[in-house]
């Protein structure tokens, strides 16, 4: 009888519970990689000059180096550069959610207590969650490799590529194992791990942007910050070129350390609690809580603070790198044509960076609005609506908070970028003014996505969470960052609200697209309001 007794049974339980969700994640990612790689194979296989020219663009342009590390010309390498970061983030999110689901969430919902009363060791839950997530990452590595082989790429590079993505998932399996011990809520454990993922992304992006390019212009060597990030390690595997496997050892050592730390923490805390004792709070509610709008504000403010700090950091960094864009010449400038032409390179750089931030803010807004569904399905809506609060007031409370949060997040980012950008280029005040204006035109597209989520929650409550995230992923993939280079038909691109965002500050804003987005926003929002007034609530039994 050891602390690990029962681990194998719990692995089977976790596998049974995740039998749909994990295969869906893995197959979705593999399908995406297979499809895009096949498309790049189609474009470039018989046009090596074109591939070399396009590779040069993504090597020489620091903005594109945010996406990843380039090592020579190959279709496989190019595909991984375009898809790698997205897939790495998805692998990390899959792993974080899986580990938290089987550890902290089980504790929070009281299932852990029931299991712990059985013949189950103290470490069994944590260990089984880690084993499950690691197994999912092994399957992910193999299927991503297979996806690239199917799309016509060489086997060693494909396997290396799949492994490099899964490596990020492996490290964040360990990260989530630790955050699940530290914090006593599912949201806290997921949020802290997600924040560390954002930090990892920023360090890798910074390292690559500050990196150096070899004389041939086809290989980037990262600066030191990239070495602090698991995403950076993943990119150092350089599949289809060096095929180095040693970063995998680094990741294995890291996950082992993190897992050992988590085991130590398990020994030092009580089931159901975090590492810190539950604090007491006020015996009376302050006036700052006493309305639905203020209640929602109170419930989201911690998460909003975390996101604000993250966007502040990204804004400061991307602004400070503005001078590297100014000096760009030739092929490297091509990519910015999408964001308002290469006449005003800096303007196009800022436009693209603001649009990326707009997509990030949209993710925050969607997550916030999905709490409408959680309120309803998990039961906190019932006591609220049994008071003199109407359904519309409840919807309105979330809408106001979402709008305020979106506005403040995008403004924090724009101002930060303007301040550091102005410092390296001169003229902070006018740059901040330009960027603030350009940031505000991101809001209608975010509003359309938010209103879509509200409409889904009211019309299809049971399916709203999955459908909402599917809409978000589609809107980002079909948006200006990825859509045009994926060769999607224009009507499909047009369905993404991000496609219609003006390329400010590079190009003067024309009112047409904004009015169109505004009308879609109002139409979807009104649909949500009308349905919500009529339908039965989906309350827990």
């Amino acid at each position: 009888m050891s602390g690990f007794t029962g681990t194998f049974r719990l692995v089977r339980l976790a596998a049974r519970r995740d039998r749909i969700i994990l295969p869906a994640w893995i197959l979705g990612m593999a399908g995406f990689l297979a499809g895009t790689t096949a498309m790049f194979e189609d474009n470039y296989a018989n046009h090596p000059q074109l591939l070399e020219a396009d590779t040069r663009i993504v090597v020489e342009n620091p903005g594109m180096r945010v996406l990843g590390l380039v090592t020579g010309t190959s279709v496989g390498g190019y595909s991984l550069h375009r898809d790698g970061l997205t897939l790495a983030v998805l692998a990390a999110v899959m792993s974080i959610l899986a580990v938290v689901r089987h550890t902290r969430q089980a504790e929070e919902l009281g299932r852990e207590e029931l299991l712990g009363a059985g013949v189950v060791g103290r470490y069994a839950s944590l260990t089984s969650a880690v084993i499950t997530a690691l197994a999912a990452n092994v399957a992910l590595a193999l299927l991503l490799g297979l996806a690239m082989v199917v799309a016509g790429q060489p086997v060693p590079g494909s396997l290396g590529g799949g492994t490099s993505i899964a490596l990020v998932g492996v490290v964040f399996t360990g990260v989530a194992a630790v955050t699940s011990q530290l914090l006593s809520t599912t949201r806290g454990a997921t949020g802290l791990a997600g924040g560390l993922l954002g930090l990892g992304f920023m360090l890798a992006a910074l390292g690559n942007m500050l990196g150096t390019v070899d004389s041939a212009g086809l290989r980037v060597t990262s600066a030191w910050p990239a070495w602090l990030s698991p995403i950076g390690w993943s990119q150092q595997m350089r599949p289809f070129a060096d095929n180095s496997w040693w970063p995998l050892a680094l990741a294995a050592a890291m996950v082992a350390c993190l897992f050992a730390t988590a085991l130590v923490l398990v020994d030092r805390r009580d089931v159901g609690r975090g590492m810190w004792p539950e604090r007491r709070g006020p015996a009376h509610a302050s006036a700052a809580l006493l309305s639905p709008t203020r209640l929602v504000w109170r419930l989201q403010r911690g998460t909003l603070l975390g996101w604000s700090i993250g966007l502040l950091g990204f804004g400061l960094v991307f602004g400070a790198l503005s001078d590297r864009i100014e000096g760009l010449k030739g092929a490297a400038t091509e990519w910015y044509a999408t964001f308002g032409g290469n006449a005003d390179l800096l303007g196009a750089y800022w436009a693209s960076m603001l649009q990326i931030a707009g997509m990030a803010v949209a993710i925050y807004v969607v997550a916030l609005l999905l709490r409408l569904h959680h309120d309803e399905a998990q039961g906190t809506l019932e006591p609220l609506l049994s008071t003199a609060v109407s359904r519309l007031r409840w919807l309105g409370a979330y809408a106001i908070n979402a709008l305020a949060a979106a506005t403040s997040l995008i403004l924090v980012y724009a101002v930060a970028m303007g301040v550091t950008g102005g410092q390296v280029l001169g003229g902070s005040a006018s740059l901040v003014r330009d960027l603030v204006g350009a940031a505000l035109v991101q809001l209608p597209a975010i509003g359309v996505l938010g209103a879509t989520v509200v409409a889904l929650i009211t019309v299809l409550p049971r399916w709203s969470v999955g459908l909402s995230w599917a809409v978000v992923v589609f809107s980002i993939v079909a948006g200006p960052m990825f859509g045009p280079s994926l060769g999607l038909p224009s009507w499909l691109l047009g369905l993404s609200p991000f496609t219609h965002v003006p390329n400010a500050p590079a190009v003067a804003v024309s009112p047409g697209p904004l009015i169109g987005l505004g009308l879609a926003w109002i139409a979807l929002g009104s649909m949500g309001v009308l349905v919500m007034r009529r339908r039965n609530l989906l309350l827990p039994a």
């Binding site: 929070e108 006593s184 809520t185 539950e278 604090r279 007491r280 709070g281 006020p282 015996a283 009376h284 509610a285 809580l289 006493l290 309305s291 639905p292 209640l295 109170r298 419930l299 998990q378 039961g379 906190t380 019932e382 006591p383 609220l384 609506l385 049994s386 008071t387 003199a388 609060v389 109407s390 009529r534 339908r535 039965n536 609530l537 309350l539 827990p540 039994a541």
Partner: protein, 311 residues
């Protein structure tokens, strides 16, 4: 005086095959404490959610405090307080904050009464909701509801997590509200509680009101149980009219008797020379068991024939 709650022919379906409420009738007069009894899954919570306007009735008439809860939920909710059966609250707020929040959103609460109730229920308002046990979360909901002075209280199994001491406090508070002329709908499956508190009771099973009336009226429907020892053997007891559930052991017998046949049965017993005898009045427990017992065994056709309305 109007009724606080008047439901008639209420139908609620969840999907084409699940009928949660099947022509339910329920009437709560103003100023009365009305017990709403039924086993799990009988439709008590669904009924209350229809009364709150959270669910829409598929058919039937719903009148709450003289209004329609589906159309005028907000206005009516200012005049009522609700304690849900499953108390789901915001885990990162304190109990005190939740009490103030719910009270304020209802239109204000009485601060003195709030303190008094916290004292009586021995609830620490500075703890976070997630740190409370089930019973303490229930107390938060109870204090939040009882701190507001409203016309109608809808209580859905409000004591399922309370210990006996706290249950006594709860009964005390409800008695106080009754004395003050408030209307209360108390759903429960705890009979002693309903028996102690309620003026009238409606028994619901499988989504319909099986019986409704005062305890007096309902007791006429039940049998008296008898435990008796006699000098002569009691072989004939099974032949007597109105006698049920007989267990005889030589000169000792236990059985129950229909209310109309008590005199005849006593006459038979006198003939056998009674040595000792204990009779117990019919409790609601038996009434309850009788209903649900038959519910389990009787075929559907029979069940409808059994439905009796006392009022």
């Amino acid at each position: 005086m109007t009724s606080a709650v008047a439901l008639s022919g209420l139908v609620k379906d969840f999907g084409p095959r699940t009928r949660a409420l099947d022509h339910l009738d329920l009437r709560v007069e103003a100023g009365e404490v009305h017990g709403f009894l039924g086993p799990n899954g009988a439709g008590k919570t669904t009924t209350i959610r229809v009364l709150l306007g959270l669910l829409h009735a598929d058919a039937g008439r719903v009148v709450l405090l003289g209004g329609d809860p589906w159309r005028d939920a907000v206005g009516l909710h200012r005049r009522l307080a609700y304690v849900p059966g499953e108390v789901n609250l915001w885990p990162n707020l304190t109990g005190g904050e939740v009490i103030d929040l719910l009270g304020d959103l209802r239109g204000g609460l009485d601060a003195t009464r709030r303190e008094e109730l916290l004292e009586r229920f021995q609830l620490d308002p500075t703890k976070k909701i997630r740190a409370y046990s089930k019973g303490n979360r229930q107390k938060v909901a109870l204090v939040a509801a009882f701190s507001s002075d409203v016309e109608l209280y809808l209580l859905d199994e409000p004591t399922s997590g309370l210990d006996p001491l706290m249950e006594a406090v709860f009964q005390d508070v409800v008695q106080g509200l009754r004395a003050a002329g408030r209307s209360i709908l108390l759903s429960s499956h705890i009979l002693s509680e309903v028996e102690a508190l309620c003026d009238r009771v409606t028994i619901v099973r499988a989504g319909r009101a099986a019986e409704s009336g005062t305890f007096q009226e309902l007791r006429h429907l039940t049998r008296t149980s008898v435990v008796v020892d006699t000098v002569k053997p009691m072989d004939t007891v099974t032949l007597w009219r109105g006698v049920h559930d007989v267990r005889v052991h030589d000169r000792h017998a236990e059985f129950s008797v229909d209310p109309g046949e008590l005199n005849d049965v006593l006459a038979h017993l006198v003939d056998l020379q009674v040595r000792s005898m204990v009779t117990s009045p019919p409790t609601l427990e038996q009434l309850f068991l009788r209903h649900y017992g038959e519910d389990l065994s009787a075929p559907d056709g029979d069940r409808d024939a059994e439905v009796v309305t006392a009022r």
